[in-house]
Structures are given as C-alpha cells and as structure tokens.
C-alpha cells in the first residue's frame, strides 16, 4: 500500500490549484455543485467551462482527437478532488452529455457522429437530456415500450418517457426505444439521438415534493428522426446504455461533496441546542455523526481500492454498487440529521429561527430521491450485489 503521489502527479496537483485560484468562480463562496445552483450563474459558468476546455480538462479521459484530455486515472482523480475541495462548479457544463452521451459516442458512434456531437459537449455549446425511464419501466428498464418504427430513411417514434432531468435546457436527447417488438426484450432496443425541437415532442414538467420541477415527462407523437441519428447498431441500444452506466463519474468528487456536507452538519451541531445543551454534546447526535463519518471515509477508501484495480488493469464491475448503496443511505440520513439537529426549526421551510442558510437541510430532506432513486434504487443495487458479486439467483 502506498498513499503517496509521484512528483509528476504532485506537479499536476499544483497546476490544478493554481488554475483554481485564478478561474474558480465559486472561490470563497459555498455554492452547491448541483446542476440547479450551477445553471443560475450561467455567464460565470460558461467562462469556467471555456477555461477548463482550454486545459483539455473537460472530458479528461476522452480521446484527444475529439478535444478530450486523453488523461490518466490518477490525474483525473486529483483534478476532481481538488475541484471538489475548492467548491468549484461541475467539471464541464454539458453535464448529461458528459455523463451519459459521450461514453456511448466514443465506443459506438460513427466517425461523423463523434465529429458532430463530441466537441459541442466539451465546449458546453450543446446540452443533453436522457430518455430512459417510462411510467411502466423504472427499475425494470428493459421492459420499456416507447417504440421507433422504420419509415424509409427515418425512424418514427411514439410513446412516453419520464423522469427526464434538464429537458427544457437541453437541445438533444439520448433516447432508448424499442425497435424490434419480436426480439427478446434486451435485444430489441436501439439508441437514438433526438433533437428536442423535433415536431411531435411535448415536454411536461413534474412537480416533486420539494415544490421544484427538476424532471419532465416527454410525449412522442410521430416524431421523425433520420436513421443516421441511431447510436450503435439496431438492437444494440441496451449495450450502448450500459456503457454510459459503466462510465459513471468517479465517486471521488462525490465523497468530497459528502465530506463538505458532514462538516456543515458538525458546525450546525455546535450552534444548535437540544434539550438545553449544545447538540454536539447529545449522545444520539454524536453517534449519528460518527456513523456518517465512518461511512463516508469507508466510501473514500473503497473508491481508492476500486481505482487501484482499474490502474492495475483489472476489470471493475458490480463492486461499485457497494458505494452507491452507501451513498443512498448517507444522502437520506444527512437531511434527516440536519433537520433533527435544528429541532423545531427543522420543520420550517423558510424563516430565521435557527435554521441553516437557504433551508439547506430541509431541501436535503425533501430532495434526496433525485440522487437516491435516480440511476438505480437501493433495492436494485442490492440485487446487483447479491447476483453479480455473491452469485445468488435472480428474483422469483
């Protein structure tokens, strides 16, 4: 075991720090790195994206010939860690494009598709949303019914998608549809790249329990897209989608964000009082804080073990579900604990009575499903662990 970095890696870290000192628009402010807080400050963020792009740090490990960084895993970890420590905005503004579209394009895209779509993602000139879940296909995504039928050199799409984030902001959607009704369900799907201004698409926002509208339903009514907008072969849609899942952003930056939140909870516990004394002296609060501390540190260290496997060229697969499950527990517990520490003020949605700035913990308490349910519910993560790691059979 060795937790030191090579001189080249340390030099890279210094380079990142110098860059952040000059270019991080959030410097000295505690601004969330979530999408909503980011979009509220667009001009600064476009400048941030441009500065990152000039360094080839957007799409850090993507091929250089399309404008990516061609960088290594350790440098990528250092970059993400330093940015998260410095409360920098997300590493590239075309968030969904970077997370979900690019990896599939790189592996399955035609040369024309790569040339056409990758650079605008890196430059944040085009934004993407995803069309995966349907009302009848959530955890069982492969049973989706939204279909695309061939009509000459076009596909004609009919059906519905749901839980699409950033639909009103995106110019493009990566859409998983059924193209072969007779094939086994995993083999009858294809992936299409659909412009959001296509005729026959309707976007309806969904209001969630926090009162915000982070998601939308999308209705497709005879929407026509040319066949060259198909990503991968017909019937290969499931594989293309799995590529994006396998390339999910490294957990390092997430852990740093969780550490920031934990520090905020500790500060809150020093300020608030429970039963006439500082909340930080309350034994129940202490044991809950300690459990969060241990869990987040375990996630950080497990992340380093997975990274080491990747560096050694060993395959990593289902083991990352361990951290996903823990993250879900931590996200839910943080909102609960923050509001519990605030006591009566914990049930205020607005107001001055001892609550944290901007109703931080109330927002957390009402907002965790975005991260916890999206991308695979905890129950699905447990299935993944049980079946792919422990070798247990599929469900009854």
């Amino acid at each position: 075991m060795n937790f030191t970095f090579s001189p080249e890696e340390e030099r890279f870290r210094s380079e990142v720090r110098v860059f952040l000192a000059e270019k991080n628009p959030n410097r000295g402010e505690k601004i969330g790195s979530d999408i909503e807080s980011s979009l509220a400050r667009l001009p600064q963020l476009l400048a941030w994206n441009q500065a990152l792009y000039d360094k080839h740090w957007v799409g850090f490990n993507w091929p250089q010939r399309y404008g990516g960084g061609g960088g290594g895993l350790i440098e990528q970890m250092i970059l993400k860690e330093e940015c998260a420590k410095d409360h920098a905005p997300i590493l590239g503004l075309s968030y969904m494009g970077l997370a979900w579209v690019g990896p599939g394009l790189i592996k399955y895209g035609t040369e024309e598709q790569k040339q056409r779509f990758i650079p605008p993602i890196l430059k944040a000139e085009e934004h993407w949303c995803t069309g995966y879940s349907e009302p009848g296909a959530g955890s069982d995504l492969a049973s989706l019914q939204c279909k695309a039928e061939r009509d000459g050199d076009h596909y004609v799409i009919n059906g519905q998608k749901i839980w699409t984030s950033l639909a009103s902001w995106a110019q493009w959607m990566i859409l998983l549809v059924r193209t072969d009704l007779s094939a086994p369900k995993h083999l009858g799907m294809s992936c299409l790249l659909v412009p959001m201004d296509a005729e026959g698409m309707e976007v309806r926002p969904i209001k969630v329990m926090s009162g915000e509208t982070p998601f939308a339903e999308i209705f497709f009514n005879d929407v026509r897209v040319p066949i060259e907008n198909r990503l991968g072969e017909e019937g290969q849609g499931w594989d293309v989608t799995k590529t994006a899942l396998a390339n999910e952003r490294s957990s390092i930056a997430e852990v740093t964000a969780l550490q920031h939140n934990l520090e905020d909870l500790k500060d809150l516990a020093r300020r608030c009082r429970i039963g006439g004394r500082a909340a930080i002296e309350d034994s129940s609060v202490r044991s809950r804080l300690a459990k969060l501390d241990c869990t987040i540190e375990a996630m950080r260290l497990s992340g380093l073990r997975f990274l080491t496997k990747q560096l050694r060229g060993e395959p990593i697969g289902a083991e990352t579900s361990v951290n996903k499950l823990l993250r879900a527990q931590v996200e839910v517990e943080m909102g609960r604990l923050g509001c519990d520490i605030e006591g009566s003020a914990g049930r205020l949605l607005k107001g001055p009575h001892g609550m944290d700035v901007g109703a931080k913990w109330q927002k957390h308490m009402l907002g965790w499903p975005t991260t916890v349910i999206g991308g695979g519910t905890p129950n699905i993560q447990k299935n993944v662990i049980a079946e792919r790691i422990l070798g247990l059979p599929h469900d009854v």
Binding site: M1, D293, L301, S302, T308, V322, I385, L392, V396
Partner: protein, 374 residues
C-alpha cells in the same frame, strides 16, 4: 498511489489460506475448542516455521521487519478460519516490547518470541473494564522491606491467552504514572485463572498479582512514561483484531450465501427471495466497508503520527460487520443454524464476543469524534 495488496501480500494471503485449509479446518478448530491445552503446540510451531510470529519484529532481534499492514493480511485469513492461535496478541506484545524496551530487554525477549518459543501478551484490562489510562490501577510500589525491587499488586482481567503465555507485559500504575513491566508468567505471586468463554475458539484468563517482585530492569522505558506508547500499541492491536473480525464476517456471509443457493422452500432456493438476498447484500456492504477502513488503519498505525480516528473507524465498523454477519448467518439458516453442528454458531459467537474486545463499537464511535476535537 496504490491501495491494494502487493504481490508479496497476496502470496502471504494465499499461504495463510492454504495453512488454514490444510492444517486447521473448522473440524480441527472444533477439536481444539474442546482441548484443555490452550494453544496447540504443533500448530503454533508450524506457524512459526512460516515466519508468522517473526513477521513484524525488528530484524536485529530475529524478526522479519515487516509492517503492521502485513500482519493485517494474516489476521484477516486467521479470522476467516477462526484459527485458534494468539498470533495477534503475541505480535501486539512484541510491538510494545520493541518500542519501549531498551536493547538488552529486546535482546532478552524478542528472539524467542520471533521463533515462537515464547508467547507474550499484554495484561491491560482491569475491573474498570475500559482501555484507557484511567482504567489502570494495578500498583507497582516500593517494597515494604526497603529492597531495590518493586511489588506488583492487583488483578488483570480478560488477558488474551495468558494461560499460554511465557511473558506478561503488565500495565501498572506508579506514582509517576503508567509503566509497563515485563513479567515472566511463572513469577512467584502470579496466579492465572483461565476463563470459560462464549467463544471457545479463543482463550482469555484473569491474572492476579500478589506481591510479585519486579526489578528496575523489568520496566520498559521510564517510570510512569509508558501510557502514550501503550495506547498506540493497543490501537495497532485493535486494527489486527478488526482484521480478524473482517475475515470472520466475510466467512459468515459466504456460509450463509452458499446455504441460500441450495436450500429450497416454496419451490425455490431461498437466495431468490429478496428478504434473503438483500440482507446478504447489506452484509456484504458492511464487510467491504470495514475491510477498506481496516486496510487503511493497518497502514496508518505505521505511517501517521495520530492514527486514532482511523483505528476507531475500523474497529467500530469491523465489530458491527462481524456481529451482524454472525447473527444473520444463523437467521438465514433458520433452525439448523442454531445447532451445534452448524458452523454459523461459531461465527456468531466470535462476532458477539470480539465486538467489545479492545473497545466496543460505541466506545470507538465516540472516539471517532473526540479524536477530531469534537
């Protein structure tokens, strides 16, 4: 940056695994549980033949000079097989001797520990039942007759493998503070009372000291100045114990998983039911998280000035993982898990018994915060 086993560590891991499988499978563990001999001599000598007792001892005293993270590798596999040997307690005692002892004291004791000819253990816990400075009240005081020697009076509780030990490192209180004395177990006035434990794969004994004479050259380090080093060695001991617990927890999850793949009810193997498979997945998450914390803590005790927080994170999570895995191993087996023949009971007892050794998960959880100044 590399957070994985080195090639040597991977080889050591498979060596221990082979040893456990061939020399001491669970059938043999069960025989040794019933034995009146606290440590099987043949098994101990075979382990010494592989260099395990010498592993972390200094090279100038017959050791291999390897790191505590290497002992963690052995401990995890020993825990997986419930190997009934005092490898961890012996290594912790040797670490304390090596760190506090002068060259003569080290030369006198460490070579025999390295070869396995002597077994050493730390006698720390007392009636106060706490692994802290304030828990030490056994007295080392000047003799009434004015001779140069000191007298030890008091009792130590739950001393690991004291009934097998040749050397006791006694944590005692002097007017100046806490000191450590190297006391041969057969010294006059030392009475060792073996305890009957829930977990019969381990051995512990009470040790009573009645006017036990010790000379100045048996004191390790300066009078009253030992506590900081004792605390650091207890931390290293707790990490190795946590590694044993991770191994035991992993084994319990594996046993339950294999059973869930073959046991049929309602026309299906029970591993197809989410009530069973999800619990196994949760246990696996507990084991993997504890393992990450334990490996890091094993590195930290050799490399960080203050490793307390990392040790406590490791011990609290490893304790919980083993305790839960042992219980659920029985639950997933159903009634058969409750029988003497089923190995689930062995892991349940290990998890229950070891959770509180060297500090309960609650004590360690509290220390996670207090070591950060909270």
């Amino acid at each position: 940056m590399d957070f994985g086993f080195t090639e040597e560590q991977a080889q050591l891991q498979s060596q221990v695994r082979r040893f456990v499988d061939s020399e001491c499978p669970l059938a043999r563990v069960r025989e040794l549980m019933a034995s009146s001999v606290p440590v099987d001599k043949g098994l101990w000598e075979k382990a010494a033949g592989l260099g395990w007792q010498a592993l972390t001892l200094p090279e100038e005293h017959g050791g291999l000079g390897l790191a505590w993270e290497d002992l963690v590798v052995i401990a995890e596999e020993a825990g997986r097989g419930l190997l009934p040997l005092p490898l961890v307690a012996d290594a912790a005692a040797a670490r304390l001797l090596a760190r506090l002892g002068n060259p003569q004291q080290c030369a006198r004791w460490l070579p025999a520990i390295a070869t396995g000819d002597s077994i050493a253990t730390i006698a720390m816990l007392e009636d106060a039942d706490v692994y802290e400075d304030r828990g030490v009240s056994l007295q080392a005081s000047a003799s009434a007759n004015g001779s140069a020697s000191l007298k030890l009076n008091g009792a130590k509780r739950f001393v690991p493998y004291a009934q097998a030990a040749d050397l006791l490192l006694v944590i005692a209180r002097e007017p100046e503070g806490v000191s450590v004395f190297a006391v041969p177990a057969d010294s006059p006035g030392v009475t060792i009372i073996p305890l009957v434990l829930v977990d019969a794969t381990q051995r512990e004994a009470d040790v009573v000291f009645n006017e036990v004479s010790v000379c100045d050259d048996q004191r390790l380090g300066r009078a009253g100045a030992a506590w900081a080093e004792v605390a650091r060695v207890l931390d290293a001991h707790a990490v190795a114990l946590s590694a044993e617990l991770v191994g035991a927890a992993d084994a319990a999850v594996m046993i339950a998983t294999e059973y869930a793949k073959v046991r049929k009810q309602f026309g299906h193997t029970i591993g197809r039911f989410q009530g069973v498979k999800h619990r196994l997945a949760e246990l696996h998450v507990g084991v993997e998280s504890a393992r990450s914390l334990v490996y890091y803590a094993g590195w930290a005790v050799d490399h960080l000035e203050d490793a307390r927080m990392h040790v406590s994170m490791a011990k609290s999570f490893a304790s919980m993982a083993a305790d839960e895995a042992g219980e659920d191993c029985i639950q997933i087996h159903g009634a058969i898990g409750y029988t003497w023949e089923c190995d689930a009971q062995l892991y349940y007892k290990r998890g229950r018994a070891s959770r509180n050794i060297l500090g309960s998960p609650e004590w360690h959880s509290e220390r996670v915060l207090s070591s950060q100044g909270l």
